[in-house]
Symmetry: C2
Subunit: 331 residues, 2 copies
DNA sequence: CTGTCAAGAGGAAACGTTTACTTGACTTGT
DNA sequence: ACAAGTCAAGTAAACGTTTCCTCTTGACAG
């Protein structure tokens, strides 16, 4: 920049004004500066700039997910990017692999780079360590799961409602023995979906059976096999997470029961409509999740200073066949 | 930091030394500094630090993909992250949506933030604009597709070889009328896979048929339908991209031809083994692609200054049934 | 003419760090 | 006991910008 100033024969201040589209600089000078910029191949240094600038904004936000390669989270990522792009804001993403420690490291790494905000799908159980950064102006939004020990904006899927609707759908098709296969119970989404399942049963006067409620199994495939080989097996399955759903589809097909046992999954998966019968799912909208989270974040950066908000996005039932089988396998 | 120094009763330099694990500082002073840090909730400012530091490294790298939400690229992303994490390096990712202009904007945004390196799955046809940044020390690696008009490290999948092998596999099962469905021909991967297809036919003395070679159709589903309704339809399909593969599976199933027409896809997709028959694919290893790219990048940052390297990763044939059907549909 | 004002430009301080250089107190070898 | 060397700590300059403040110039009103 100094060189540019020298070549253009102006002061540093003027170069800065031109580079930032500053208000009052004579057209001929501006042109000279621009020529010098091109000539020297000057590249603006955004980090140095934001160090001194009044707003102190880095125009970048951090994302912390379980795994950036999980289709669910990469869709959230994209949703965030969609709205960040409009503001010239870049996204830094990292995978926590569901490890609280790793999540914290990432958060610290990101705040050390002075990101303007953080969007987190929380793994850690305690987020109070972010309190200080927030006091220092960091915008904070949680997505997919609420945070603990810190009061912040959050955007969620209607897990309980979606699960309730999914299970009610099975009940409407005549099922009474419906198994619940869930993720590890320490996950908020898992317990919420279980709550929805219970709710649906209760509303229809169906008694829960302990044998049919299974959470946090590490080999879902085996679990499904076991369930379907019971003396009195469930007539329908509700799988409450995408990887479990996929494992269940495998198991059901391997046992050749795909026309006998009904199945609804939470969260949509690719090729769900090519499987025979098509897989009925309660779909989420991860991209919208990301967009909403980003909007909450930017509203904070734009000065909103009210109480924290909680957005809950609805789910959509997609009927493809597997969820519409009657008990015993008739359609 | 000034406050920390004041509270601990030491100079700024000493605080800096402690914060950076500097070599020679008396233990009691170091302890006092650390106490002050905790007390004040001091957060290191990495950007200010890298501005002055000798290495001038931001410990972050930029990623530019077509779409961070595409499972292929999100897996590459994760591969990069795997190796970056080991070095405490963060990844900034952006989606170009295959628009050269958007790619360039992203690249400029990233270099303005002084990332140490850039990993790009190129959309643009001319990357010479990066020449200057590279001269200034930016490490540069291209992934999935080679760059144009700039000589840089690149890591690719063996597109031609994989396609050749896939098509040979179909030929080995007795097929002679094999259709090729490809992506837009301006994409490097698309032309390479077509080359592999042609190669396989030539090696086995099969004449190409123009009618059976289709590239860059925007409605692959309709295209497959059209092909299969020809008077003399192909007995096998080779779909050379994941989205096209999925569309083809849909079309084949809708026409109830899944046991009549053989099908091999390039790039693996979820649930491919639950479809009936299972979908045979030539799988890539996108995560390894990302890891290799990151390794090339870091070797540059570690001082490697030799000629640019080109890594080509092999593909793996996964036989699941659809590729092993004989012409006419017998197994 | 003088005085007021606005616009345009420059000088220098500041942002939060690191680091080259300096200082001072010890240690060591003779 | 003294020169030389070592080590720990401090001072101040520097990194690449932006911004506050001042200065000059010219226009215009009284």
């Amino acid at each position: 920049m100094k060189q540019v100033a020298a070549v253009a024969g102006v002061s540093l201040a003027t170069v800065s004004r031109v580079v930032n589209g500053g208000p009052s600089v004579r057209p001929d000078l501006a042109a000279r500066v621009r020529d010098a910029v091109d000539l020297l191949g000057y590249r603006h240094n955004h980090t140095a700039s934001s160090l001194r600038r009044a707003d102190r904004l880095s125009a970048s936000i951090g994302l912390i997910f379980e795994d950036v390669a999980n289709p669910f989270f990469s869709a959230v990522h994209r949703g965030v990017e969609d709205v960040a792009r409009g503001r010239g804001v870049l996204t830094l993403a990292g995978s926590s692999d569901e490890l609280p420690e790793r999540e914290r490291e990432l958060a610290e790494s990101l705040t050390a780079r002075r990101v303007d905000g953080l969007i987190i799908a929380p793994a850690a159980t305690d987020h109070s360590y972010l309190q200080r950064d927030r006091a220092a102006g960091l915008a904070l939004v949680f997505v997919d799961r609420p945070a603990s020990f810190i009061d912040a904006d959050v955007v969620l899927t209607d897990n309980a409602g979606g699960a309730r609707e999914a299970v009610s759908h099975l009940i409407a098709h005549g099922h009474k023995r419906i198994a619940f296969l869930g993720d590890r119970p320490e996950l908020h989404t898992a317990t919420e979906r279980l709550r929805g399942y219970r709710d649906a049963l209760a509303r229809h006067g169906i008694r829960e059976e302990v044998m049919l409620i299974r959470s946090g199994h590490d080999r879902p495939y085996d679990l499904v096999e076991e369930l379907l080989r019971l003396d009195d097996p469930p007539t329908a399955l509700f799988t409450s997470q995408n990887l479990i759903t996929i494992a269940a589809v495998h198991a059901i097909h391997d046992l050749r029961l795909q026309r006998k046992v009904a199945h609804v999954g939470f969260d949509d998966v690719a090729l769900a409509d090519v499987v025979e019968p098509g897989l009925t799912v309660m779909a989420q909208d991860p991209r919208a999740l990301g967009r909403s989270a980003a909007e909450l974040l930017f509203s904070r950066l734009d000065g909103y200073d009210g109480p924290s908000r909680r957005i809950v996005l609805p789910t959509t039932l997609i009927e493809r066949g597997s969820g519409e089988l009657a008990p015993g396998g008739r359609r």
